[in-house]
């Protein structure tokens, strides 16, 4: 993969931007030209957080509908919402677990089932991989590492221009020492889950 547009979507507080920056550093260390975009502001109060990473020489940091080679979805509903960004033949790697928006909790709106993502993307995406990021992160030691689980899954199924080994190096190099072990565990669990999902 020489050029890739990667679209990140999640909910405020999930570490979407941290994951974006970690991938950007990985790209830079691999000698790839990189530009990345993020929207701050209202998002931190439980709203949607979207960010982008463009590898291989793009200049603009926005991704328009039909342009994303990869969608990394940190929350199930937000993954579904972001599907129009996907390019035909692209990858969708997402968290299979939900964070209820307030309208759902109030009973005014219905949370879509997991199958909605699979059904919508079927025949358009090259691959859709959904893994339970929060549960696996808890297994690794903290729910906060759910973002790293997702990165592990994405690298393992070949959605990223980086390997799990590349991400391992970045975690060791760029995360605070006390966070390294738990994130390496999370990365490995994500990678395993993605491989198991592909085999199934």
């Amino acid at each position: 993969m020489t050029r890739a547009r990667i679209f990140f979507t999640g909910v405020g507080g999930q570490g979407t931007l941290t994951a974006t920056t970690l991938l950007a550093r990985t790209a830079l260390d691999a000698g790839l030209p990189v530009t990345s975009g993020e929207i701050h502001g209202m998002a931190q109060r439980g709203g949607v957080v979207e960010s982008t990473l463009l590898v291989g020489g793009y200049k603009s940091a926005i991704i328009a509908p039909g342009e994303a080679d990869v969608i990394l979805g940190f929350e199930l509903l937000e993954t579904l919402r972001a599907l129009p960004m996907l390019k035909r033949g692209g990858f969708v790697v997402g968290n299979s677990e939900a964070l209820q928006p307030v309208g759902v909790c109030l009973g005014r709106e219905c949370y879509p089932p997991l199958e909605a993502v699979l059904e919508t993307a079927k025949g358009f995406a090259a691959q859709v991989v959904l893994v339970p990021c929060i549960s696996l992160a808890e297994q690794a030691g903290t729910a906060k590492a759910a973002n790293t689980v997702l990165l592990g899954a994405a690298a393992a199924c070949g959605a990223l221009p980086f390997s799990v080994a590349d991400l391992t190096r970045s975690i060791e190099k760029y995360l605070k020492p006390k966070l390294v072990d738990v994130n390496l565990k999370a990365l490995a669990l994500g990678a395993e889950a993605a491989k198991a999902g592909q085999a199934a």
């Binding site: 909910v11 405020g12 974006t20 920056t21 950007a24 550093r25 830079l28 030209p33 990189v34 530009t35 990345s36 975009g37 993020e38 929207i39 701050h40 502001g41 209202m42 998002a43 931190q44 109060r45 439980g46 709203g47 949607v48 793009y58 200049k59 603009s60 940091a61 926005i62 328009a64 509908p65 039909g66 342009e67 509903l77 937000e78 579904l80 919402r81 599907l83 129009p84 960004m85 996907l86 390019k87 035909r88 209820q100 928006p101 307030v102 309208g103 759902v104 909790c105 109030l106 009973g107 709106e109 219905c110 949370y111 879509p112 909605a116 919508t120 993307a121 358009f124 729910a143």
Partner: protein, 613 residues
């Protein structure tokens, strides 16, 4: 991003946010004095200066508002220090008064104004185009598009300002402030720049007689700058052919990617502008003369388009000029998608068909919401209980604007930062209806206090609720003059909000909004009175309190009785810690902040119990 931004030697490649790159760039330009009022998308620039400020080679302050920030920086440049003042686009409206005269009075030490515009209204009430302020105030203008350019142009804007002793505008947009990319650093200056002040009132005091002279001097500087803009390395021409494109700012990125993907690189003529005011007139004229047809690609207002049309007419150049009216929208952000359609139409290609998935239109929305444990939720709930729909709610700019959403619907109108008291006062005077005006502590200091003074002077009938969460939460928990503690330690001289209100002529009532009974009693009492009244609802923002280590550990609330009996509480508070699991109401212990407001509203909700060991 930490101390590497202060490193003296350059040559590193850093992965920087546009706003962080601006910090490095102004440091390379010798900045020694920084003022701001925070606001998205500008906030990370001052926040980075603040974080690095201990032992750094500059003075830093979060000023009380943008007008004050620009005036303080204006004083610093008069005293000879290279200065930077940062704000978001609407902040420049607040600072417009000093700005309009600043270039007359001049900037001996150098002064750069960062205006971060927000096309698309990502976090703003409008999408005004502040390139027009460059024209109005007579400020040379730079428009970076990448993180590297943010760094380079911030430096060069500072150097140009120092050289000409005139203020310079660094105009960015959201996508530029929040772009992240590699930046190669340069060296920091070895010797600090300064220019001792020499008294010369005719030069620095714009009495009418001297102002006329100053205006003439400013125009001469701007006229002289055309040659500089013509030669600027930020204004780059490439390609060949009869079809031409002129673009500036972030639009250059979209255009560049589209030309590449459409296979047009080299086959069309391209003029990319980074230094856009004064216009590089001779460069543009030569470009126009070489083209048959030109498309101007710029977000928001047709600023370049109109000026370039005028230039073609003045110079008698026959060329077709297209832009906003024909191909590109005047509203919202650009993207590769809409620039692609414009480029294809311009070169005579059929419109591109977008191959993309569609998703159901009725997906649950995820609007931003007041956080779990936010004291504003409790204040809104109590006000609603007392006034319901009988009052008109005047709102202001801050987290609490989110009270606009149901179930509170506590915002009926809003103009701008600091407007809730005065607009509410006007509405009350004109309609005779009860008005409740909400305003945050930071916003009150920013420009709400003048509204209070007016309300007292003219006995406006308005209940003012100051939602004092002890920080400027919306933009990232920056300190304001009233706070006791910042993330860097104690504030030795907090402004006493209660005493300030008292000095304005109102005896304020203070409550903890999380104490529902007391708040309700205070509001009920105030609702029976007339004239200007102030309720201070004070409780710290829980996120900020946790960050500065002031929050006490509390256990989450729990459903102790019948979950079905709590549904009214759910509907009336809409707290993000509430959840429905298998059709049953429950409280998510991970999300719950332990504020214990909800337990005051239902006997079926109880404080959490310590788990038995």
């Amino acid at each position: 991003m930490g101390k590497e931004l202060l490193k003296t030697e350059g040559g590193d490649t850093l992965l920087l946010l546009g706003n962080e790159a601006i910090v490095r760039g102004t440091l390379e330009g010798g900045v020694r004095f920084v003022t701001c009022y925070p606001g998205t998308p500008s906030s990370e620039a001052p926040d980075t200066f603040f974080r690095l400020s201990q032992g750094a080679p500059y003075y830093f302050e979060y000023s009380v508002n943008e007008k004050v920030a620009l005036e303080v920086a204006g004083g610093a440049t008069l005293a000879g220090l290279p200065s930077l003042c940062t704000m978001k686009h609407v902040g420049v409206n607040v600072a417009a008064d000093p700005l309009m005269t600043l270039a007359y009075v001049s900037a001996p030490g150098g002064l750069v104004l960062l205006s971060a515009d927000d096309p698309g209204c990502h976090s703003s009430q409008n999408e005004q185009d502040n390139r027009i302020y460059a024209r109005l105030g007579g400020l040379p203008c730079f428009e970076p598009a990448t993180a590297q350019e943010c760094k380079d142009m911030a430096r060069d804007a500072m150097l140009l300002s120092r050289k000409l002793e005139t203020p310079v505008l660094l105009r960015t947009t959201t996508r530029v402030n929040h772009v992240r990319g590699p930046v190669v650093t340069g060296d920091l200056p070895a010797t600090p720049y300064e220019k001792p002040f020499v008294k010369d009132p005719a030069k620095y005091v714009p009495l009418p007689a001297s102002a006329r002279v100053m205006h003439k001097r400013l125009r001469a500087i701007l006229d002289g700058l055309v040659a500089e803009a013509d030669a600027s390395p930020y204004n780059v021409e490439s390609g060949a052919g009869e079809l031409g494109f002129i673009s500036s700012g972030v639009s250059r990125n979209y255009l560049s990617d589209v030309l590449e993907e459409e296979g047009l690189v080299g086959k069309v003529r391209l003029l990319e502008l980074g230094m856009t005011y004064p216009l590089p007139e001779n460069r543009i004229a030569a470009f126009l003369a070489a083209c048959k047809k030109v498309l101007i690609v710029e977000e928001l207002e047709p600023v370049l388009e109109n000026e370039i049309r005028a230039l073609a007419q003045t110079r008698g150049i026959e060329v077709e000029i297209l832009g906003k009216s024909e191909h590109l929208p005047r509203l919202g952000e650009f993207s590769t998608a809409n620039v692609r359609q414009a480029v294809r139409a311009f070169v005579g290609q059929p419109a591109a068909v977008v191959d993309a998935l569609t998703v159901p239109g009725d997906l649950p929305r995820r609007p931003p919401n007041l956080c779990a444990g936010c004291p504003h939720r409790a204040a809104y709930y109590a006000v609603r209980e007392v006034y319901g729909d009988t009052a008109v709610y005047s709102s202001d700019i801050g987290c609490y604007t989110l009270g606009f959403l149901p179930p509170f619907r506590a915002a009926d109108f809003l103009l701008c930062m600091g407007s809730s008291i005065s607009t509410g006062a006007g509405f009350a005077r004109a309609s005779g209806k009860p008005v409740v005006a909400f305003i945050g502590d930071s916003t009150f200091f920013h420009s709400g206090i003048t509204g209070l003074i007016d309300a007292v002077a003219y006995k406006h009938d308005v209940l003012i609720v100051i939602l004092d969460n002890r920080t400027t939460a919306m933009t990232g928990h920056q300190p304001n003059p009233g706070v006791d503690t910042t993330i860097f330690g104690e504030n030795p001289n907090p402004v006493d909000l209660m005493a300030l209100i008292r000095a304005c002529g109102v005896e304020p009532v203070k409550v903890n909004p999380l104490n529902h009974k007391a708040t309700l009693a205070a509001l009920t009492e105030l609702s029976k009175q007339t004239g200007p009244r102030v309720l201070v609802a004070e409780y710290p923002c829980p996120i900020h309190a946790r960050r500065v280590g002031q929050a006490k550990k509390t256990l989450p609330a729990r459903v102790a009785g019948d979950p079905a009996a709590c549904l009214t509480v759910r509907d009336n508070l809409a707290c993000p810690a509430f959840a429905m699991v298998d059709g049953q109401f429950t409280i998510n212990a991970e999300q719950c902040d332990g504020c214990m407001f909800c337990v005051q509203l239902s006997p079926d909700l109880k404080p959490g119990k310590k788990e038995a060991k």
